[in-house]
């Protein structure tokens, strides 16, 4: 069914169709609507979900942990400060291997307090052991929310699906919805490995692990992360085969013959595609690489993509506050270390706190990259793009 939906509406629709057993959440701009719409589905009896309006995000995720450990299929939604307040429990959910799914709307972290998009919130929790999937548009947000449930449950790790705050969350686009019945059917029931509610076979969850066992338990968690890409690919393929929309691990656009490329995440991917088109019309061989699966970091697929070009512009919508520039920039330089083909790389930190990035600005980036390709020199390797007074 073709409809018009905002990113938040699309994620809420996905949640309605998934009909999770439990949703515990707390409002925060720009994610509030997801919870709001879902609450109205509950009030109208469109879902059988138990909805917990928690008194904070910390409690919201804590309740999700309890519910997921009790065997329920559990989802929540938050953003920015909310995710930051969940920080402690994010690591716990992953350590307990609970397949909770968060619909995360990316918003800049305080301070200064700001309600607009950048990626600092989810990136600040990239070590937490959660899958992180950044989506480009409303359709992808909707589809990925559904896929994430299956991925998380098969991998036994929690997952975050993100949209860009306001840009996607509040932006209405044309999307295709799956029939209500097909979604639960495709997902099937959650297979519970450790059932807390089985009183005949009582188990103890979350015990104290000293020097003698902690490393072993963490090693299991690391292994789950190290080995889950094939499962993610399988689920994406299965989803495509069933519903006709296929998603890649790394999204490559016009890369086959590209000489220079931009690497970005989230909604900027779309804007950059238009820029690519315009450059191509001028006969310039440029391409776009969009990092969709960020955790686990798809080393191989990413290497394949970024080594295709001579000059690479990495656009990070967050900074690491380390003197080293943005996250993707460092991830890519790291994986390229022992690659034999090495592109010239320039890092563009842009769009913090919702600063808009235009097609023209991206075209300028491409022009700079072409210059870099030709001259073989990167003048300044990390720049702050679009900030006043730079």
């Amino acid at each position: 069914m073709i409809v018009a939906r905002t990113g938040n509406e699309a994620m809420a629709e996905a949640m309605r169709q998934i009909n999770p057993d439990v949703v515990a959440a707390y409002p925060i701009t720009p994610a509030t609507e997801v919870v709001q719409l879902f609450a109205s589905f509950v009030a109208d009896g469109l879902v059988t979900t138990e909805f917990v309006p928690a008194e904070s995000e910390h409690s919201a995720l804590s309740a999700c942990v309890g519910a997921s450990a009790a065997g329920a299929r559990v989802m929540t939604s938050t953003s920015s400060q909310g995710l930051a307040l969940m920080h402690e429990i994010l690591f716990i959910a992953a350590g307990m291997r609970l397949p909770i799914v968060i619909c995360l709307v990316n918003r800049a972290l305080s301070s200064p307090i700001n309600i607009h998009c950048d990626h600092s919130d989810s990136l600040a929790s990239r070590d937490s052991g959660w899958l992180q999937i950044f989506t480009e548009n409303t359709q992808e947000a909707y589809d990925t929310t559904i896929m994430a449930v299956k991925m998380a449950e098969e991998i036994m790790l929690p997952a975050m699906v993100t949209t860009d705050g306001f840009i996607i969350s509040h932006g209405m686009e044309r999307i295709e919805l799956i029939d209500d019945k097909k979604v639960p059917k495709w997902l099937g029931e959650r297979k519970v490995v450790n059932n807390l509610l089985d009183i005949d076979k009582p188990i103890t969850l979350g015990s104290l692990d000293l020097q003698d066992y902690y490393f072993e338990h963490k090693r299991q968690e690391i292994e789950a992360m190290n080995n889950c890409l094939p499962i993610i690919e399988k689920v994406q393929k299965d989803f495509g085969d069933t519903f006709g929309r296929y998603y890649p691990i790394v999204d490559e656009y016009k890369m086959d013959d590209a000489e220079v490329a931009i690497l970005a995440m989230g909604s900027t991917g779309g804007t950059a595609k238009v820029a690519v088109e315009r450059m191509r019309e001028q006969g310039k061989k440029v391409g776009l690489i969009r990092c969709r699966i960020y955790r686990p970091f798809p080393k191989q697929a990413m290497l394949r993509a970024i080594t295709k070009v001579k000059a690479l512009g990495i656009m990070d919508r967050a900074d690491t506050f380390s003197t080293m520039g943005g996250h993707l920039y460092n991830d890519c330089r790291s994986i390229l270390y022992d690659a034999d083909k090495k592109p010239l790389i320039k890092n563009y930190i842009y769009g913090l706190g919702g600063r808009d990035i235009s097609i023209e600005e991206i075209e300028t980036v491409f022009e700079q990259l072409l210059k870099i390709k030709n001259t073989g020199k990167v003048d300044k390797d990390i720049v702050y793009y679009g900030v006043r007074g730079e």
Binding site: I203, D212, E216
Partner: protein, 96 residues
Amino acid sequence: MKKEKKGWKEIPIGLVLDSGTSKEFETGDWRSDKPIWDEKKCTHCLICWIYCPDSAIIIKDGKVQGIDYKYCKGCGICAEECPPKIKAITMVREEK
């Protein structure tokens, strides 16, 4: 208390653990004083049992069978709480 510890591939996933396994961990050797239970004096009121922090008063069909020294840490609560007129439990120093 030495036992071979499992490798990361052998332990169950999800930080799970069977309940009630503390039985395998004996705390009896923490004891410096030892409760001695006098079957003859005991009226089986079970007061000692309800107060034992280490579930070390052995009960069968509502009657005290004795003290489980595998776990008893020798706190002395049982002896203290056993009714004054009865005092069926007395604490003695663990001989070394």
